[in-house]
Symmetry: C2
Subunit: 435 residues, 2 copies
């Protein structure tokens, strides 16, 4: 049986997970694939750094260049993370003509085109299934399973930390800060938590999916991104009353019309409780993919963690191994730029429905003033909730707003915020009905 030699850079949580999965199922993989996969070298920070599974001592080195420069190593797995040294490692491996497998969403998001060009130059391949939605084979499904489809819309719950926090806020009626603190204690959120809860991680992932789906590279600077810090218990409760759940969605939606483009964005979104995404709770991830031929589909699973990530990394390794066995250089390219005129539609142009929570003084004429501003902007109000209060006091006022362009909505909101009867900055979330 032919064999393929692996080198790995990173021997912490995920790295030891990959090694463990290979120890457990490497023999099965060889039987399934007809090619044997060997681990040859694993570069670690320290031999005795904490790791959930042990790594064979004789495979370890603390010098990553030993992995990259070993002529016997065919495939390099990069699990270092971030855009610093990891970029150097990936570029060095590709320059050696080695296939690279990475779980590094930040790196692919920020430097994808540079890395793809480097791979093409040396005839190597670059795989990144584990970079989006952990163990869910969403990248393989988009590029191969749905190769005959255009993608009118993709909606993803792609950050497990945010989904865990929002799920608990909803289930327990708890506050954001309390749940975040608890999530940090339990290891479901990092300290500091910004990368996750400010939406950056979700931005990396939806950018990658949007790029693969639409055939042009989605520049992450152009991806409108909002995190979940502004989602409060009270909004969760009003959303529930209206029949909605609040989820942080990565959205990649085709915009037709005079100036076609693709909406690529991340923001907390009200989705109907009856939608299949509303039932995705805890640390689980899910991608709802609408293909023009296949229709509506959903992929669900663990979006992170050593084992789920290992499953995805090893599936990339298997693809690389099959190509090496068959003498194929690049069977499926990491990215095919087949849409030269593709562009991200700016958020200002995006039309959506809105949930709006104002804090207003309960006195005659308040609603009339607000309604007048929306009327002047030709923005329709579809429903109002105003809980009973005491005249002269501050009360919440909830408005559901019909489809309106973002720019018009922002202008109207700025005017409303300046009304003396409006006490706090307005809280606004978009509403998605998946139509």
């Amino acid at each position: 049986m032919q064999h393929v030699n692996l080198g790995m850079i990173g021997g912490g949580t995920v790295g030891s997970g990959v090694f463990h999965a290979w120890q457990k199922n490497g023999g099965l993989m060889a039987a399934r694939l007809g090619v044997k996969i060997n681990f040859r070298k694993i570069a670690v920070k320290a031999f005795d750094e904490p790791r959930p599974y042990p790594i064979a001592r004789n495979l370890m080195t603390t010098d990553w260049q030993e992995v990259v420069n070993d002529p016997e190593i065919h495939v390099v797995i990069e699990l270092v993370g971030g855009c610093g040294i990891a970029r150097t490692m990936v570029l060095a491996s590709l320059a050696q003509g080695k296939t690279v497998v990475t779980a590094n969403k930040a790196l692919i998001s920020a430097h994808g085109p540079e890395l793809f060009a480097a791979a093409a130059k040396s005839g190597a391949n670059l795989y990144f299934e584990a970079s989006v939605c952990g163990g869910i084979p969403i990248i393989k499904s988009l590029r191969e399973g749905f190769v005959a489809n255009q993608f009118p819309a993709i909606y993803g719950i792609v950050n497990g930390t945010c989904n865990y926090i929002l799920s608990r806020m909803k289930a327990e009626g708890a506050d954001f800060a309390a749940v975040l603190a608890d999530a940090q204690k339990l290891g479901y959120a990092e300290t500091p938590p910004d990368l996750d809860i400010d939406g950056h991680d979700a931005q990396h992932k939806i950018g990658i999916l949007a790029s693969l789906a639409h055939g042009f590279w989605a520049d992450h600077h152009a991806i409108h991104t909002e995190g979940i810090r502004d989602v409060s218990k009270i909004d969760m409760q009003f959303a529930e009353k209206l029949g909605y759940t609040i989820k942080l969605l990565g959205i990649a939606k085709r915009i037709s019309g005079r100036k076609p483009g693709v909406q690529v964005s991340v923001y907390p979104t009200l989705i109907p409780n009856t939608h299949v995404l509303a039932g995705v709770n805890g640390v689980f991830n899910a991608c709802f993919v609408r293909g023009d031929i296949v229709g509506d589909t959903l992929f669900y699973g663990r979006g992170a963690g050593k084992d789920a990530t290992a499953s995805a990394v090893l599936s990339d390794v298997a693809d690389a191994a099959l190509d090496l066995k068959n003498g194929v250089k690049v069977r499926v390219a990491p990215f095919v730029p087949c849409n030269k005129g593709g562009r991200i539609t700016s958020m200002a142009e995006i039309v959506s429905r809105y949930y709006l929570r104002l804090s207003v003084v309960d006195k005659p004429g308040t609603l009339a003033k607000i309604a007048a501003i929306f009327a002047a902007a030709k923005i329709g109000i579809s429903s109002v909730i105003q809980p009973e209060g005491h005249e002269g006091e501050s009360v919440p006022l909830i408005l559901m707003i019909h489809d309106a362009p973002n720019a018009a909505m922002q202008r109207a909101l700025a005017k409303i915020a300046r009304l003396p009867v409006v006490k706090n900055p307005p809280v606004m979330f978009r509403v998605e009905n998946f139509e």
Copy 2:
């Protein structure tokens, strides 16, 4: 750009769907794949048979042998269905060294090993993504995305007709017969409906998934199969009271212990309302896949229909085209028999929980007699519902039964059925908690 020529046998609903999808997105596929896919010949029953999308007249023939024998055709798509002439067509195509793509679950289920041997003999490949769960890339995900996993359990809602009927029975409190009649009128069920509602179609599909997951071919004769004819409105309602939904599940579950094996079966199952599969309604299909590395995952989408099926057929065509382009004979074999000692565990050995509905005479001592039979068989009762009735009349008696081997349960049930106080044959469904 290189090109691959397709021939297709079958130009009705699904065939015209494939042709239409290719007309719409064939150019996009070529850009993505770097290989052009041409339709060369399509064998139809009649030029003017009814079809939802038109097929170019100059491509049509009524002689399928013209497709199989055309030396310019590289890939043959078989969409005839059934195990008769379709088998001849597939074998003839493979004998010519042509790659075959089929959506024919009955054929793969009944004749898989013969077809795989024929493919191996002539060095051709055989693809069947569309045979299970329509457009959902479940076969690719099992074999490629989850190649590093063993599969402790797979649960599939794999028959859209049954799921449509059960969903409506639950939502509307309607009777089986009424919903079936309506489903036939609406085209969601065939006339006669036996293949679907007696579980045969689900049997074909779970057998294929079990085989791929466990590395031995699951002989369809050994797959315990029950349909949904015995699910009544009253069971749906009692299940709901207990927190469950009734779904027709295809199950492929690893059985450990003294005699390891795999449970492969199809039957109506009570599943907790909180489980993600309970929310899969209407004609949608879903597969819940538990991998030992990846954890729990779900794949959801349209399990049938011209367009969803076309998406899967064309993804197989794309894989075949890439292999032809790269000069690879068989990159992923249709089936790898890597588990020589694999066996299907007989239903008698399977342990599960049960829902039991008896029709009993409401008089003192009834429950005691039934409980005594279970006690003697060492079968535990976990809960009882006995709606209030009038003494001497027939009332339903609902029992939830703890884990018990099927054989013991059947023996106890036979004794219970013979009690004079038990009026109708007992109704029994298994309960799955996904533990």
